[in-house]
Amino acid sequence: MAMLHIVNKSPFEKVSFRSCLNHVSKGDSVLMIEDAAVGAIEGTSFSEKLKTAMGDVSVYVLGGDLAARGLSEDRMIDGIKAVDYAGFVDLTVENETTQSWL
């Protein structure tokens, strides 16, 4: 059963993003929204942790949340896909279940 994990906290402030990555299963998807969007950027103290997880899971970010924080999509870690709200809906449909890491 593929699960969509939704993360909304910055990985630099809270442990919820790390905890999410420690509990995902192969084939799951992770979507970064709100303050979690800053975790999508390459070359941070968090990026290696996320890249390691990307061997097993697909990773997405809400592009609008990146742009709001002054971060352009060309700075994302390779392999992360930016989606809009319609893409968010698609992800909830494609996965059997969702889990929010608040």
Binding site: N8, K9, S10, F12, E13, E34, D35, V38, I41, E42, G43, T44, S45, S47, L62, G63, G64, D65, A67, A68, R69, G70, L71, S72, R75, D84
Partner: protein, 134 residues
């Protein structure tokens, strides 16, 4: 009224929570009382002053331009943590060009952003009489 040294410590990214906007509101109020105001941007607070913020995709008001007006309110000491930028893959080039105009120097524009390391930030904090944390 006596002037006191006020510092506003900003540690959260904008838009995800209301802290950044609320801090900015109180900073502007404090300026009206002509206090000696400094701002600190630490941890995720550095995202508050990144350049090129575009909130059209999230349907929230973009308040980043307000930081550019702080110089007009005599708020011209914005201390930014070097380590916090580095941990986030950012440099000073990613921040807005925030300036104030020096009336004693023919209104020359001077930078408001002061890059400091943790020990320098600690020293600035130690000088404050009032510290408000957001």
């Amino acid at each position: 009224m006596a002037t006191k040294k006020f510092m506003f410590v900003n540690r959260k990214a904008p838009y995800g929570t209301v802290y950044a906007l609320e801090s900015l509101e109180v900073v502007l109020i404090s300026a009206a009382f002509e206090q000696d105001v400094s701002l600190a941007f630490i941890d995720d607070g550095v995202y508050q002053i990144t350049k090129g913020q575009d909130t059209t995709g999230i349907g929230q008001k973009n308040f980043s331009n307000t930081y550019k007006a702080l110089g007009d309110y005599e708020i011209k000491k914005l201390y930014v943590s070097k380590e916090s930028l580095e941990e986030r893959g950012l440099t000073q080039d990613d921040l807005m060009d925030l300036v104030w105009e020096d009336e004693d120097d023919d209104w020359a524009e001077k930078p408001s952003i002061i890059m400091v390391d943790r020990s320098e930030m600690a020293a600035v904090m130690a000088e404050q009489e009032v510290t408000l944390s957001f």
